[in-house]
């Protein structure tokens, strides 16, 4: 636990909070990008280089762009005329707080039961690569299949329905 961790945690949480509270959708999307970046830095802080960079590549490079595209395509960049929160927001906040309470309690309760090791793990990119195409090759293939299916599905779902509908 050091200052860097506190700083990164603060940035991440601030980004997340801003994302759900900001009125403007584009601002929310940019805020969530900050949160994604914060999480990537937390991964780096946890000695997970590969995952950290993959996080930046996937979330900042792709998902954030997807989100802003979706916002523009749904005219979400215009400010809504009604409020941004729905009717039951107070109850929802209570529920979210309860979820946090339960998880936090669970973390503090059970942490002593977990064996812990503070030394940094010795893992090179080579090990990650070997694991990906060795022991975890089947999940990797399945993820590839899933991504292909999702790409095709997304294209078909979002495609313009041409003359057929008229």
């Amino acid at each position: 636990m050091n200052a860097v961790f506190y700083l990164l945690a603060a940035i991440t949480i601030a980004g997340g909070l801003a994302a759900i509270l900001l009125k403007h959708l584009i601002h929310a999307a940019l805020a969530v990008t900050v949160a994604f970046g914060g999480i990537a830095l937390l991964f780096l802080q946890l000695d997970a280089q590969f995952v950290g960079f993959a996080q930046i590549l996937v979330y900042i490079g792709a998902v954030a762009i997807l989100i802003v595209f979706a916002i523009l395509l749904t005219h979400g960049a215009d400010l809504p005329e009604k409020g941004v929160f729905n009717k039951g927001w107070a109850a929802a906040l209570v529920i979210a707080a309860a979820v946090f309470a339960v998880t936090g309690w669970a973390v503090l309760q059970s942490i002593d039961a977990v064996p812990q090791r503070n030394a940094a793990p010795v893992v090179s990119m080579h090990d990650v690569g070997n694991a990906l195409v060795g022991r975890y090759v089947l999940p990797l293939e399945i993820v590839g299949l899933l991504l292909t299916a999702a790409t095709i599905g997304a294209v078909i779902v979002a495609m313009h329905e041409k003359e057929r509908s008229r």
Binding site: M1, N2, A9, T12, I13, G16, L17, A19, I20, L25, A29, V32, A35, I39, L42, L46, A48, V51, A54, V58, Y59, A62, L66, I67, A70, I71, T74, G76, P80, K82, V84, F85, N86, G88, L93, I95, A96, A97, F100, T103, V107, I111, D112, Q116, R117, N118, P121, V123, D127, V128, A131, L132, Y136, L140, V143, L146, A150, T151, A154, A158
Partner: protein, 107 residues
């Protein structure tokens, strides 16, 4: 300057906070895209947990947590693509992306 019994707890609590923020966002916002953003936040918090356990857990050379996070990121990317495609498609049909106006599946 350790405020927590161990560093792991810090990361887990950050993840819990993020998860709660994501859940709150998914519950209180009316816009479907923000709900999707919130879901991404929740997924990320789960990834943070996985990596934290991998880092401080006993068998870091098995790479299980890291692999799980990698696959989770890939799945999340697919989820984002399909989810946003759905939102766009719904927007085309109903001319709105606000979730409380979309209740055609009412029982």
């Amino acid at each position: 300057m350790t405020a927590f019994p161990s560093p792991l707890v810090g990361y887990l609590l950050v993840a819990a906070v993020l998860f709660a923020i994501g859940l709150a966002g998914a519950l209180i916002r009316r816009n479907a895209i923000i709900v999707l953003i919130s879901i991404e936040l929740m997924l990320n918090s789960a990834n943070l947990n996985l990596i934290a356990f991998w880092r401080f857990g006993p068998h870091s050379s098995a790479l299980t947590g890291m692999m799980f996070a990698i696959f989770s990121i890939a799945v999340a990317a697919a989820e984002a693509a399909v989810g946003l495609g759905l939102v766009i498609s719904i927007y085309r049909h109903t001319n709105t992306a606000e979730l409380d106006k979309i209740n055609r599946l009412k029982g």
